[in-house]
């Protein structure tokens, strides 16, 4: 969504009914254990707000609903408004459902100069959507991203927990085809990666789209 010429960082909520206090907590047992482990890294429970939101994003299927935010606030013992403020501040939290693959094309300085907008337009054409939209089959969401800091390999596209470097209008269609077949790099796996990375010992098991031997 574009607003005032800005891709809104945190799109407004859509269609969710406001969470009710009696909404059930949905974190699985393992998720609670992961959260408690991460909380133990900090002197305050509240400090685990960012990781807790990542866990919530995974547990709630790739995006944060008001119920997810309420659950995080409850588990951390902090205010719901504050957690919503955090969730809407950072761009990587999804406040609405995304496609199975979220293509984030870096269009910042170097990439822009090296033809990132051509890639965007090629993808728009190939997927038949505009930037910010999701395909009808729910496979792809296309977004612009600010600098992903892989400028040496412009244009870079982030999909879930993986960077695809050196994307050009000519090879971006291959990327789309490859992703169609891939089970990896989904928003939930991105969240999973980010949670596991913060969990000591996780390199032995892997997480997200990564197996232990790939790390």
């Amino acid at each position: 969504m574009i607003q005032n010429g800005i891709n809104t960082l945190a799109d407004s909520y859509i269609t969710h009914p406001v969470a009710q206090p009696e909404d059930k907590m949905q974190f699985s047992e393992e998720a609670v254990a992961e959260l408690e482990e991460i909380i133990s890294h900090y002197p305050e429970r509240k400090a685990a707000c960012l990781p807790a939101l990542w866990i919530a994003q995974r547990e709630y299927g790739g995006h944060l609903t008001p119920a997810a935010i309420r659950e995080v606030a409850t588990r951390l013992g902090t205010s719901q408004t504050e957690v919503e403020g955090v969730a809407t501040f950072y761009t990587m939290y999804n406040l609405r459902p995304r496609g199975r693959h979220h293509l984030e094309v870096c269009t910042c300085l170097t990439c822009a100069v090296m033809g990132a907008y051509d890639v965007v337009h090629a993808l728009e054409h190939a997927l038949d959507i505009s930037i910010g939209e999701t395909t009808a089959d729910g496979e792809f969401t296309l977004s612009e991203a600010e600098c992903l800091n892989y400028c040496g390999n412009a244009t870079v596209v982030q999909v879930g927990d993986h960077y695809f470097p050196d994307i050009s209008p000519s090879n971006c269609l291959n990327l789309v085809e490859e992703l169609r077949k891939s089970e990896k790099y989904t928003p939930a796996l991105l969240a999973d990666s980010l949670v596991k990375i913060q969990t000591p010992g996780a390199s032995l098991k892997g997480g997200g789209s990564f197996k232990a031997e790939e790390i």
Partner: protein, 443 residues
């Protein structure tokens, strides 16, 4: 002066991310050495080296390391700023991805030197692959006893935790990073003299050391070798090496570790020179610094002083090269879009000013510029620069002021002719004018 791989010495060794290979290549020698040293000796070694912060500001590192209380009475924290977000910079990415153990060594040393028991690496959320490498490296270091309780029998403890960001350039600002680490919105916090220095009351109001990835890596090198050795390289005031991330219209992009004081043009030549055209401009230190014309580039050496003397900054080392097909006005439009997007919205000048700057540049670059717009841009920049809560406002204003200074004629051309002096090399998407009303309408 040329390429000088100190930190990158073992970058290309097969499997160097693995602790066994790392140890075989002299890894953790510095930590073993430091285990026998008094904390003050480590600080003094850093002082001797003349190392300055590699995050962009170039503040002498030893002063920070020396500033924390010298006892274990209360918790201290060592933070590593790996929220690399400055457009054009990708050095930390490679350091963490390829040689994560160097960073771990640096942080352990900082922990010893500052009487800290806990370190956090704040990595931007997008850096999943580098972060996995660091996770593995930390896990290995724990297994070998370099981290955890009673490291190498010294009686000293040190834990490193990874804290992943979630998408915010602002969190690379040290006080905003602390807010984010504490689970808050990434807003900057009050700084000296309005509040105590981080070394007195930083994260959780405890004494805190915060440095960039490259700084910790350099510190690890310095302790392993010596401060004197490090100080042999570089210029009088800018010691050692700097990793420059070269991108844009050059033949061989990538990270180049160069000796401080290397002429700018030499780096350009190392990278294979300009691609698809002739040199038009260079941004030497990331998007926040002033753009340089070719004739200015000739005079610049890549160190803090020479860059400063020529009206730009070495910054974080994001070295962007542009050929003559680059439209500077479009480039600035995209730069201002970045800062508008990344402003945290806390203070008035940055929140409103970055958006206004974008709107003016957007109208110029879409053929709707008016006479006087350049003066307006300069005036708005002067209203932001130095007036904002943190440095992001300054960083949004400097490149625009710099571009107008260096390429004023292109702005005038756009305003007068309603088209690019170059021909359209990059076409930005059409900005949606309507403001989609937020969800509150349903109420």
């Amino acid at each position: 002066m040329a390429i000088l791989n100190l930190l990158f010495e073992h970058r290309d060794v097969e499997g160097i991310g693995n602790i066994d290979v790392w140890e075989a290549n002299g890894g953790y020698e510095g930590v073993r050495k430091a285990a026998a040293l008094e904390p003050q000796v480590i600080v003094d070694e850093i002082k001797t080296s003349g190392l300055r912060g590699r995050g962009g500001a170039g503040f002498p590192t030893w002063i920070k390391w020396n500033g924390l209380p010298k006892n274990y009475d209360a918790p201290h924290y060592v933070l590593c700023n790996a929220d690399e977000g400055e457009p054009g910079t990708f050095k930390d990415r490679e350091l963490i991805l390829k040689i994560p153990h160097l960073l771990i060594e640096g942080m352990i040393l900082a922990g010893f030197a500052t009487y800290s028991k806990v370190g956090y690496v704040y990595i931007r959320g997008e850096y999943v692959e580098p972060a996995w490498q660091l996770r593995k490296a930390i896990d290995q270091a724990y297994a070998k006893g370099y981290l955890g309780k009673n490291i190498l029998g010294t009686g000293r403890d040190f834990d490193i935790y990874i804290h992943m960001g979630a998408g915010s350039y602002e969190c690379g600002e040290e006080s905003a990073l602390m807010s984010s680490l504490m689970g808050e919105r990434g807003n900057p916090r009050l700084k000296f003299p309005h509040a105590p220095l981080p070394t007195v009351a930083g994260v959780w109001q405890a004494p805190t050391l915060i440095n960039n990835v490259e700084t910790y890596c350099a510190a690890a090198w310095i302790i392993k070798h010596s401060g004197e050795e490090y100080a042999k390289y570089g210029t009088e005031k800018s010691k050692g090496t700097k990793i420059m991330s070269v991108s844009g219209h050059v033949a061989r992009t990538g990270n180049y570790e160069i000796e401080m004081g290397t002429p700018l043009m030499e780096l350009l030549n190392m990278a294979g020179g300009v691609k698809d055209g002739v040199l038009k401009a260079v941004i030497p230190g990331g998007s926040s610094v002033q753009i340089m014309r070719p004739e200015q580039c000739e005079k610049i050496n890549l160190d803090y002083e020479s860059c400063g003397a020529n009206g730009t900054l070495l910054g974080s080392g994001g070295f962007m090269v542009f050929n003559d097909k680059t439209d500077i006005v479009q480039l600035m439009r995209r730069t201002s879009q970045f800062y508008m997007h990344e402003s945290c919205g806390k203070c008035t000048p940055c929140r409103e000013g970055t958006r206004w700057l974008f709107k003016i540049l957007d109208r110029i670059a879409s053929g709707n510029g008016q006479k006087g717009d350049v003066e307006l841009l300069l005036d708005v920049c002067s209203q932001i620069d130095g007036r904002s809560y943190c440095g992001l406002g300054d960083a949004a204003a400097w490149p625009i002021v710099g571009a107008i200074k260096a390429f004023r004629s292109e702005f005038d051309y756009w305003i007068e002719h309603k088209r690019s002096p170059i021909g359209n090399t990059f076409v930005p998407p059409v900005v949606e004018a309507v403001n989609p009303v937020l969800a509150l309408t349903s109420v």
